[in-house]
Amino acid sequence: MTTTTKIALAGNPNSGKTTLFNHLTGSRQHVGNYPGVTVEKKEGVYNAHGKKVHIIDLPGTYSLTAYSEEEVVARDFLVTEKPQVVINIADAANLERNLYLSCQLFELGIPTVLALNMIDAARDRGITIDAARLEELLGLPVVPIIARSGQGTVELMDRAIAVAREPRTWQPVSISYGDDLDNLLLEMETEIETAAFLTDTYPARWTAIKYIESDQQIIAKGQACNPELAAELTARVAAVADHLQQTMDTYPEAVIADHRYGYIKSILKQGVIRQQFDPARLFASDRIDMVVTNRFLGPLIMVAVLLGLYHLTFTYGKPLQDVLTMVFGWLGAGVDHLLPAGHLKSLLVSGIIAGVGGVLSFVPLIMLMFAGIAVLEDSGYLARVAFMMDRVFRIFGLHGSSVMAYIISGGIAGGCAVPGVMATRTLRSPKERIATLLTAPLMNCGAKLPVLALLTGTFFTQNKAQFLFLLTLLAWVVALLMAKLLRSTVLRGASTPFVMELPPYRLPTFKGLAIHTWEKTWQYIRKAGTVILGISILLWAAMTFPGLPAEREAQFESQRQAIMQTHTADTTQVSQAALGTLTAARNLEALQHSLAGRLGIALEPLSRLAGFDWRTNIALVGGFAAKEVIISTLGTAYSLGETNPESSASLSQALAADPAWNPVTAMAGIVFIMFYAPCLVTVACIIREAGSWKWGLFSMAFNTAAAFALAVAIFQAGNAMGLGG
C-alpha cells in the first residue's frame, strides 16, 4: 500500500465546493469523466506542508439516492475507492438543508470533516454558528471557512489529514426512524449480517435503509447477490409500506426523510445556531430578485443581458477568429509554396490545415462564450433565466435552462452550435438535456449565415433583412417543435422535477472564471481536435479520390501547354483567363470523378424531389464537414475556381442564371441547409456530451431526414402553386 492521502470533497450544489477545490488545488487539477457517464471527474493535488494530498471533487448533490448519475457516481466513489476522509462542505447560511447530505455520509460511516463555508455571508444574514458545540454534538471535526478567500482552509486540511492518518474503520451512525421502521431495520440488519449480504461493500443498516427507500441500484445489486434474501427483504418492506399507507397515509421513504430532518433539528436546537433576524427577512439578493424577476422588467432585463453577452462574444471573438483563420490561411499558402504538387500537399493543405484550422479558429469564440456563461452561472443569474423561461420551454418538453443553449447556438442568428451543445451541461435532467442538445444545432449558426445570405440575396432581393429575420424565427419554431417531437417519441417520459435552487447573487471570482473557462476550452481543443483531424482527412479523401484517369490529366496538361505557347506579352490577360477556365474545368471534372462527386450524382434522382441537382448535392455533402464549405464547393461545382465565401458575387450570378434555380428551389435549399445534419465538430460534441455515438449518428440521420422532408414539401408545394416560374 502506498501512503498517499486521498480526500474527497462532498457537498450540495452552490455550497462553494468548487471554489474550495480550486483554492486547494489551484492549477494542479485534472478533469476527466467517470467511466460510462457524462459526469465530470475532477481531481487535484493539495500541498500540505510539502506533502502531496490527493483531492477528488465529487459532483455536487443534495442527497445520495440513486436517482441521478451524479449521486450514483458520488456514492460509488465513496464505497469503492474508500477515501480516508470526506470533507463535507456545507453552506453555513443554509445549514439545516446542507446537513441532510451529511446525515447520509454519517450513516455510511465514512470518516467525515465538516466545513462550514461562507461563514461571513451567514454572519451578514444574522446567523451565528457555534462550531465547537456542533463538533461536540456530531463527534467529528467542524471547521468554519471562507473558501473564496481561503480563510480557515489550512486548519481544515490539517484536521482532515489528521483524521486520514488515524487508522480506523467506518463507524456508521444510527439515526432513529420511528418505531415502525426501527423494528423493521433491526430485523433486516440481523438477516443482512448473517447472510453477509453485500456487507463487503455497504454497512448492513445502510443496505436495509436503501431497501426501505426502494433504491434501484441497491435492489439490483441485492438481486444479483442473493435473490432469496433480496425477495424477502423486499416483501418485508412492502408489508411495512402497506401498514404506513393505511395508518398514516405516508411512504416509507417519506418517513425516513422526515426523521433525518428531525435528527438535524434536534442537533441544531441544542445551541448550535443563533438567528438574529426573522428568517423571512429580505436580503440584498432578494431585493435584486424583486427587480430582476419582476413580471415586466424581468423579461426585458433578460433579453438585454443575453443580447449583451452575445454581442460581446461576437464583437470580440469574431475578429480573433478571423485572425486565426488568416494565420491558417498563411500556413496553408506557405505549405502550398514549399511542397511540390501532389497528394501529400493536397492532404496537408486542403485536408489537415483547412480541417484542423477550421476547428481551432473557433477557439476564441468558445473561450469568450464560456467566460460569459461562467459569469452568468457563477453569479447566480442563469438560474433566474431558467426560472423565468421554464413555463414556455416546458410546453415543448424542455427545461428553462434550455434557453441558453438555443441562444448560443444561433438563436439570435450567428452563434455557434459547438459552445451551444456544450452549454447544455447546466441542465441537470437527462432527457431534457439530450432533447436540447439535439435541437440546438437547428439554429442559424454563423457558418450557415453566408449561405443563407447568398441565396436570400440572389432570389429574395426585395426584403432581404426581414427575410433573414423570418428565417431566425423559423429556426426557433422548428427547433421547439422538433424538441416536442423527440420528447413525445424517442425521449418520451415525464419531465424531471424542476425543484431548483435560486442561489444568492455572488460576485464571481476571477480565479473561478479563469479555471472554468480554460477547462472547457481545453476539452474542446483536445477532443474535437482529434476527432476532426481524422474526419477532415476522410472528407478530403472523398473529394480527391479516385483522381482523374491519367489520360484526362494528360489532355488537360497538353491544353495548358497549348495556351502557354500562344502566350505573348500582349495577351497576358487573355491567356490568364483561358488558364483559369481550364483549371476550373479540370477541377470540376475531378470533383465529379471523386467519391463525393459520384455520391452527389448518384443522389440526384432522390434530391430532384427537393429540386437539388448534383452540384448542390456535392456542396451539401461537403457541408457535413462544416457549413462554410457549402459556398466554396458550390463555387467549384459551378466551375468558378476559387470562391471566397465573403465575396460570392459571381456565384450569385451563376445561380441566378442557372434555370435549375428559382425562388422555390432557393427556399427548399435554405430550409435544407438550416436543418440538415449538424457540422462534424458539432456532431463530435454531441457524441461527447450525450455520452454515446448513438446520439451523434441519430442527429445526423434524423436532422437530414426531417430537413429533406421539409425541403421536398416546400419544393413540391411551391411548384404546384406555380411559384417556381
Binding site: I127, A257, D390, V499, P503
Partner: protein
C-alpha cells in the same frame, strides 16, 4: 388555521408544511430540499408567466413548478393575507 395546497398560496404568504403527498423521484427531490412536514415556507414570488413559484425555505430560495407545488399541503394562519 386552514390547510391548502402550496399552489393556492399567494405572494408573501407564509405557512408550515403539513404533508408532502408524493413518492418516487419527485417526492425524494422535494424532501431532500427540506420540504418536509414542519418546515416553514414563504412564497417569495412567481415567474412572469405565473409558473414556476419561488419559495423561501430554511434560508434559501427554491423554485417549484405549480404541478409539483400541488402535492405540498400547507397550514396557513390566515387565508385573507394578501401580497
Amino acid at each position: 388555521m386552514a390547510r391548502i395546497p402550496l399552489r393556492k398560496m399567494k405572494k408573501n404568504q407564509s405557512g408550515t408544511i403539513t404533508a408532502v403527498k408524493v413518492g418516487g423521484e419527485m417526492g425524494r427531490r422535494l424532501r431532500e430540499m427540506g420540504l418536509v412536514p414542519g418546515t416553514v415556507i414563504t412564497v417569495q414570488g412567481r415567474a412572469p408567466l405565473y409558473d414556476p413559484v419561488a419559495l423561501r425555505v430554511l434560508g434559501s430560495t427554491l423554485t417549484l413548478r405549480n404541478n409539483e407545488a400541488e402535492f405540498i399541503e400547507i397550514e396557513v394562519a390566515d387565508l385573507a393575507t394578501d401580497g
